[in-house]
Symmetry: C2
Subunit: 280 residues, 2 copies
């Protein structure tokens, strides 16, 4: 009997350790078994949030894989040889600096579609893609409206929607997020965009706007993201936080943010796991 | 053969006449058979709009019937005898004047939940409903978040959603509309509220905000409502217009807005008919 118990305990510890390693990665410090507890025992938060707001690029949709896929198909039709992974990464890497220009006032408020277009013009030169019509450029720019969801996103959000108000809270402009939801089948209750606050995340105004428009307190709102910085900024505004792990955001060899159980209110493998931990 | 044709023509004319009378009412002038044509032949608009934005109170949901139903059940439980139809009508009749105070600057921007609450306080006095707790008052005020859809609203919107971006464009605040959609199962792609423009309809800013956020031109946006004034204001801002007939908005004996075919880009019996006329 006592042997059986010990064996069970041992299995439990091994199981928790394995799960924890999944999040913390190897060589990033020793993980204590207790840290895994909230995530294994599915202890519900008390009180539960009323609404969940989601980062989208990378957290809900696979921007990199989607751009590579469209690029490869388009390049083949056009007879162009382009490193589409590099094209996608270069486009995305221009995003932060472009938003910073708005944040510092070097640009007036400019929605993400327009920042993407400015970056696209530079990219087309860099990759020597010539003679595109205005229609083709516009179509390319709207690839961000057509990003594909991670496999768990639509079914996971559908589960969460039964018990929670769910919305994106993204730097994507309102139309981009509306079109993305329609294209990908994301079952949002409402669209929340940085455009509504005219401030890009991580500015406080964006997080606080979400709670204000939903008619709830920041502490009743949970920000969900695969990015530690986004969650830390949301927490500083009084929001609850939920981390979801997206190991493939930057490709197979890429570096994705990780979190240990306890780092945020919920640390989850994916949206299914988030839904389970939130009791849905 | 010529007799058959004549009979067919006759039946067609009678059919059109009957349909037209449904919209124009009796005693409101002679209706020419040609006026019914756009509505019988289902001639599609050219070009079709890209998005449809809907007035909600009265147009998509039955505010009056819903308040009466909740009131009757609550009053029975409380042992109160109240004329709930009058209660509903009095609440609604305070809505326009309260918004006008915001429009004229006598009140700063105040969201509809808060205007409804100010009106409710007066109503409780008028109807001598006493000793409500804060929780009960808040629950009552949120009856506007729980309004029930007309029978065609959910299936009709679901049809339209396949081909168009659909959203409310209502004076209800963002949280009210989000909760209403969740409660009633309204399948909106996004929530558009006067709160996002901080201007109540029929101010121009509200209609123009809808097109701007959806990333389209006003002429690519169709305002849909059961209220002629709302549609006239939307048209003045360059939006397309769609009328839907809601004969029971103000109850069996009440007066509902009517329109003749040709008065607006689409004049429809209900959302099913609107969907058919828009090719879905």
């Amino acid at each position: 009997m006592s042997l059986t118990m010990d064996r069970r305990e041992l299995l439990k510890t091994v199981s928790m350790g394995a799960a924890t390693a999944f999040f913390s990665g190897s060589g990033e410090g020793t993980v204590r078994a207790e840290q895994a507890a909230p995530f294994k025992t599915k202890m519900p938060l008390n009180p539960l949030p009323k609404a969940l707001v989601f980062d989208t690029f990378g957290s809900v949709v696979d921007w990199r894989g989607s751009i590579i896929e469209e690029g490869a198909a388009w390049g083949k039709a056009k007879g162009l040889k382009i490193d589409w992974a590099r094209f996608a990464d270069r486009w995305r890497s221009g995003y932060g600096p472009a938003m910073d220009k708005v944040r510092r006032g070097e640009l007036p408020w400019t929605k993400l579609d327009d920042l993407h277009r400015m970056l696209l013009e530079d990219l087309l030169k860099e990759f020597e893609i010539q003679r595109l019509t205005e229609e083709e450029k516009d179509h390319w720019n709207r690839v961000w409206h057509r990003l594909k969801p991670w496999p768990d996103s639509v079914p996971g959000l559908s589960r969460l929607k039964k018990n929670y108000v769910i919305a994106p809270l993204s730097n994507g402009n309102f139309a981009l997020l509306t079109n993305m939801a329609k294209h990908a089948g994301l079952p949002w209750d409402a669209i929340l965009s940085a455009e509504l606050a005219r401030h890009y995340k991580p500015d406080r105004e964006t997080y606080l706007m979400a709670a204000e428009l939903l008619g709830i307190q920041p502490k009743e709102t949970m920000m969900v993201a695969a990015h530690v910085g986004d969650l830390q900024s949301a927490r500083a505004c009084g929001l609850r936080t939920g981390f979801i792990y997206r190991p493939l955001e930057h490709g197979l060899g890429g570096k994705a943010d990780k979190a240990n159980p306890g780092d945020f209110d919920v640390v989850a493998r994916d949206i299914f796991d988030l839904a389970s931990q939130l009791g849905t």
